[in-house]
Symmetry: C2
């Protein structure tokens, strides 16, 4: 678990706000905000309660815990696929000991990675901290669908914390127990995964690493045509992920999209790609983009009985024939008297298949069991005009790890200049937009500098006032935190009202009027160079 | 625990962003972001582990739990002040039964309101979900202070979730188990609680309910002069809270500041005020603003040994005299040989007071105990030039409940018009900034309307496209969600490129050029009326 300080928290806010801009304003996704604690049935349905586990071993001497599959690396092609006893045998046969104290290890045990807690006083209920934000969007599908006036496609997003009780968290921000996600769940028609905006981006070339054949750079149109990416919608969100990564300042030459191996992909997923970034640790997953089919909604339908479905209106009403159960009131009336209607209603709701050929059907109504012999009902063909049908939407899920991308941004922005670091953040991401310095902290230069700082913050941008040390030292401080520009108030300011503004990357300076500083900083933040300040 | 849908989540974002604007950009507070799960020692130090508890009783029949003090309301002046056995006796004497099933109740038991979990596999450690965001800022004081180049005052803020395992959550968003806070911790010099910006706001009149004397409307200057509010800094943040509440659209005539009763205030607090809003439930606390003295930092210093202190540089170095312990190496050398230096160092760190008059001093060094007789040391007066001193800053804490304020905003914005609701959100808070309608969904009006919508979203504002039902019905839909304006594309748009824009509150309309819609919406969002659109 990490704390973000003032610069880290601002960088994270900037990253999240830009994502919100792309997904919510740009693509019309609906942002919702669900609780972190959810009750057990949610995770029973999602499969996390039964299957979201790793195996660990504990040292009998120093009591350190380790991921069992990590200790088996090199002893097996894919130790994560082994069962508890197989993995235990493997470690035992190879005489694997505690890496830190050489003590003996326990046999591998399963460990559910969800943090558990207890909700309520007295007779309490188990609750779990969400291991992903996604489930909140699945259980709210009907609300989101209704908000969208019952039309597909509709997408929901959440930006927030998720929790995984990792056995061995590692590599700083790359594997945290408490982390930040930005997730989108796009609900689409199962038979229509085209995407209108795809045509506008189809010629974008991306570096792809498919799970068969060599890595290649190809256009999205080629990738979809050649079935390298399974459909247009998935391809569009691969594009949008790439755009987001480039927008925030990741280095395009250190990005790639890797398709999951067939045995790596969930059985229900029809396609899954990871955007990976190249870091000092190697290629690391930043974002997963998957076509999850109807798996998630169907799982919640099965466990909760909620009808998480969309209604497809046909272009014109269709006549359909269907076998249905019809009660025979003439027979039933004598047998069931005043209860006939109630029983007949229940009977007619049964699927015809479930009663076919049975001599007797048993029905539970309001806690009572009724035996109904087959002469009480008949199976008939019913013709009906139907205007549409219910269907379980499919889900396309882009899932972003915020902390990992933030860390990658630090590595990809890191450069050295003489004897200090320069973080080449782009203006939109930079936690501080401008340094503001009085050449001397006297003669009224300081109060003019404070006014200039106020004009920048009033325009909604962060500015850092600094009056200590040489101007060179102050530039270096701002370069180290990636501020895109610095404004200096000097004696000329008092004479003619102009200040210098210096661009971080070129280290060039121009003079502008002090009233125009906020406008100038805004232009630099939006990516313009000093030449865009002409006339200010 | 509540889910926020697309409108609620957007409203919450708008509220949080405006708060960030006031506190971070406006007042220079440093936003940080700390984990939700913290280890036990943090809450041992803060006092939450021992004292953050309510008493509950459980029904022996239906197993419902109740706050014991709530069941004793009307039976005692202030049941929350009673001990377990006193409260039990009171309930027993009055034959209080389960409110829902009339069953017998257990005796009151203490229940800690923090959600507990377990961190790590194998030998795990207890962790707790933070019951407030504040502790993260206290434990990070040194980092924040260093970021501010070691100057006081310095303030930190956090916006995020907090968790309290309430025995009986109630009244919707007013008492949640999982809720949102915006908290600021301002660290100030203990002897300087003046505030430079106070002079700019001192004539603001606020409705105050002090804990002695009648409620009154008075200026902040009067309140500080007459010692109704204890200091300028606290008064300034009462002002800022009032400004925030008015900015987001709470009704000033339904706001007041109530000072805590003396027995309601924490023993260490020198003053504490709640901003309360008048709701259908009565006057409800929204924000607490307290001068907490050095309590929080001192508590963490005591428990962790971390030096959470600031350094005050004197205007000029002072000569100070101090009694110190000085080792007598001549005596000790013979007794302790090679260990002399180690023991002498430890000895000289003892406060002089602690050894005065003792014949023998016992010292634990690296697990070994040394007995040192009084002839091994002497107490001397040391004169020293000191440039400053360490001190534990005091804390002024404004703590905002987001969900409560959001709910209050709904009540204070709620109006009726004919047969439907109009939420009179101001432009800054409105989740949707504009409705965009084609008069008919054909003849190209629809595609022009989509362009208009895009121009609004491109400018960073949410717009809702609606082509279904009469225009009146569509206006009503937007009024109900509080959108400040609606834009209609009609046949005149095709003829001369103008659209109508309608103001929610006056229901008046003007025509403007379609290229100027984004500018027009931005002006309305910033609070202008239709007259400000002249020339567009």
């Amino acid at each position: 678990m990490y704390d973000y300080g003032p610069l880290g928290a601002a960088l994270k806010n900037n990253m999240e706000n830009h994502w919100r801009r792309l997904y919510v304003l740009g693509e019309g996704f609906l942002e919702i905000s669900c609780p972190i604690i959810a009750p057990e049935p949610v995770f029973k349905a999602s499969g996390h309660l039964d299957a979201f586990a790793d195996m660990y071993v504990e040292c009998l001497k120093c009591h350190e815990s380790y991921r069992a599959d990590h200790l088996a690396e090199g002893l097996h092609d894919n130790p994560a696929t082994l069962k508890e006893d197989e993995l235990g045998e493997l470690l035992n046969d190879n005489d694997v000991k505690c890496p830190s104290c050489k003590g003996d290890l326990t046999a591998p045990r399963k460990f559910n990675l969800m943090f558990k807690t207890s909700v309520g006083a007295g007779v309490s209920k188990p609750g779990y901290l969400r291991p992903e934000t996604a489930q909140g969007m699945f259980v709210n599908f009907s609300q989101v669908y209704r908000h969208a006036r019952e039309k597909l496609p509709v997408g929901a997003v959440q930006i927030g914390k998720a929790f995984r009780n990792e056995i061995s968290p590692r590599q700083g921000l790359l594997r945290l127990r408490e982390f930040h996600q930005m997730e989108a769940e796009l609900f689409v028609h199962p038979e229509n995964k085209s995407w209108p905006r795809f045509s506008a981006v189809k010629d974008t070339k991306l570096p792809l690493v498919p799970n068969s054949g060599p890595p290649r750079v190809m256009t999205l149109a080629e990738a979809v045509d050649q079935n390298v990416i399974v459909n247009e919608t998935l391809a569009y969100f691969i594009y949008l992920t790439y755009k987001y990564a480039c927008d925030i300042g990741l280095d395009p030459s250190r990005l790639r999209f890797r398709q999951h191996e067939k045995d790596e992909m969930a059985h229900y997923a029809s396609d899954c790609w990871d955007m990976e970034a190249e870091l000092s640790f190697g290629w690391i997953e930043m974002v997963g983009i998957a076509d999850r089919g109807c798996y998630d909604l169907q799982a919640h339908i099965n466990h909760s009985g909620s009808e998480l479905m969309a209604f497809e209106l046909f272009d014109e009403a269709k006549e359909v024939e269907e076998e249905v159960v019809r009660a025979r009131f003439d027979v039933m009336g004598k047998l069931f008297k005043g209860e006939t209607k109630k029983i007949a209603d229940a009977l007619s709701k049964l699927p015809a298949e479930s009663v076919k050929g049975k001599a007797e059907v048993s029905l539970d109504i309001d806690g009572q069991t009724y035996k109904i012999s087959s002469d009480c009902f008949e199976i008939i063909m019913r013709k009906e005009k139907v205007s549409g049908r219910k269907l379980v939407p499919h889900v396309i899920e882009p899932s972003y790890g915020v902390d990992r991308m933030l860390y990658s941004l630090l590595e990809h922005s890191y450069t050295k200049k003489d004897d200090y670091i320069v973080l080449r953040f782009n203006g939109r991401m930079a936690p501080v937009k401008a340094g503001v310095f009085p050449l001397m902290a006297r003669d009224g230069l300081d109060s003019i500098a404070v006014e200039v700082q106020d004009s920048i913050t009033f325009a909604g941008m962060t500015a850092y006032y600094d009056d200590s040390g040489s101007i060179g030292r102050r530039y270096a401080r701002m370069d180290e935190i990636g501020a895109p520009c610095c404004v200096t108030v000097d004696y000329e300011t008092k004479a003619n009202g102009t200040v210098t503004i210096r661009d971080r990357d070129s280290a060039n300076q121009v003079r502008i009027k002090k009233e125009n500083v906020a406008v100038a900083v805004a232009r630099i933040v939006s990516g313009a160079g000093l030449e865009a300040l002409e006339g200010l």
